[in-house]
Amino acid sequence: MPDLVWFVMRRLFAAVLVMLALSLAVYLIFYAIPADPAHLACGKPCTPDRLEQARHFMQLDQSTLQQYVNFLKGVFVGRTFGDGTAAVHCNAPCFGYSFPLARPVTTLIMDRLPITASIALGAAILWLLLGVSLGVIAALNRGRILDRLSVGFALIGVSTPSFLLGLLAILVFGFWLNMVPVNGYVPLTESPVDWAWHLITPWIVLAVLQAAAYIRLTRSQMLEELNLDYITTARAKGAGEARVVLTHGLRGVLVPIITLFGLDLGALLGGAIITEKVFSMQGLGDLLISAVGQLDVAVVVGVTLFSAFLIILANLFVDIVHGVLDPRVSHG
């Protein structure tokens, strides 16, 4: 176990370095844009005096490097913009302050995260179950009708854009059949039933789209797995077909599946931009898109870094799970 602790520590340290490099890159990219966030804050008409005041207040009059240093400092000790009664505080960990929204970025992300996480986690569980079971069924019925159907379903899944399927689902199940709410979000803490009821359509839409990759991966891995000698051994021991497939076959398939799953989930937690837009859910993706439209650099940097952090976390999770699932990795 100390090995594992060391491994995680090393990876987390590397993650911090990656985040530093990434934050710098994102900062430089957004400050290279020939548009001034202070202009938006200044309003219309904007006198040069007021513009200068706004720039000073937002600390945009400092050098880019100094601004970046301020940002880093803010993460650990918090930041204060302006002084006196007009001062704005951003408590540590401060990942920037959104002047258009008048909220610290950290608070914005934490407010939006439950929505995105609700969409992502529910959909992920659905697509994992759907993808793996259809993949196993396809492999066991190779060349037969169930295989063709599963693979066809996967093909439709990968080739359909999410907005199209999302809008169709809303049209059919929301309006025509009037079965599900067409938009909106109810917090889990308020009413678990309404929460799930409002999320069921985005879950299914995302699951159908994402399951495709899992069906194909599971199918090909399972076909390979079933040709291995230890599968023959299991049969020779007198194991029934279900045990052969589920206990001996599926175990080897799980490693690549969990790898894909971790990375997909990490990416989706950073915001399902189109899905959130289609279902009018104010998640992280929605926050990011609005911020880009308003040149709200602080939010863009914050959400980007948060997404990157999730990806790094997902990679770490995948590596750890890999070690747990495959004794050849951990018992090297």
Partner: protein, 332 residues
Amino acid sequence: MAEPVLEVHDLHVTFTTEHGLVPAVDGIDFAVAPGQTLAIVGESGSGKSVSSTAVMGILPSNADVSGEVLLDGRQLVGLPADELRKIRGNDIAMVFQDALSALNPYYTVGWQVAEAYRLHHDVSKKAAFRRAAEMLDRVGIPDAARRANSYPHEFSGGMRQRVVIAMALVNDPRVLIADEPTTALDVTVQAQIMRLLADVQEEFGTALVLISHDLGVVAEVADDILVMYAGRAAERGSVRDLFFRAAHPYSLGLLGAMPRVDVPPKPRLTTIPGSPPSPGSITTGCPFQPRCAYTHLVGERCITERPELTPRPGEGNHEAACHLGRRPEVIL
């Protein structure tokens, strides 16, 4: 000879492939009694492995098996899958050639041996694991109770083969089929494994079907030998019949290709020219005829008429399928 525990009569195995029907085993007979060892020898592709997997009933679904496989007089061919499952690993067990690929890398060896036991005995996991540890100890794995918790890749080749043997013997089977159990091992380890097989065979009174192309191993442990060529029996008899009174040119060829210390050394080992025919490619005449050095002594019959097994002088059941009636002089 005692009553045979396993009898095979007129066994045919035909594979349906893209290239049509391929008869891999074309009518063979053999029998083995408790405590006795039958060796099936032949080159790759002679059908020796297919015959044994047919006895186990674990051939792929494109294989068609006909004929009789009698275990204590009970016909196994055509038995429902569920009935066969109860026999596999319990009454008839199998030891595979490559222990590394025959063991599931994701489970501990103790778990795998215990699984074989639990599939046929209604016992707790704990009891089965204890039984597995005992069995691992019996096959000579040092510190077995602790090593039972190790994974296959943590063992050496010889130790892994011991694990496979423990797994096959854990249910005290009546018949053990060993498919080239020592081919993948070092010579010194080969001897240990063969001694282990002989020991447990004596202890449990198991009937052993040894599939091998190593005549040196066969000479030491076998009671009877079946020489297979192109899916048919070329010759069969007691081990002395085959080594001292071989009647089939193919058997002679195999013997000539084997280094021996009990006869004056030859300047060089002989080889059998050519390679075995692909299954089904020879439909008339003797399948060995294209490679046979004795056809000139017989003539046309070798090409037109398929030789059947006919009695030869020896210890009783010595038979060979060759038109050459007398024992051929060895041609070097």
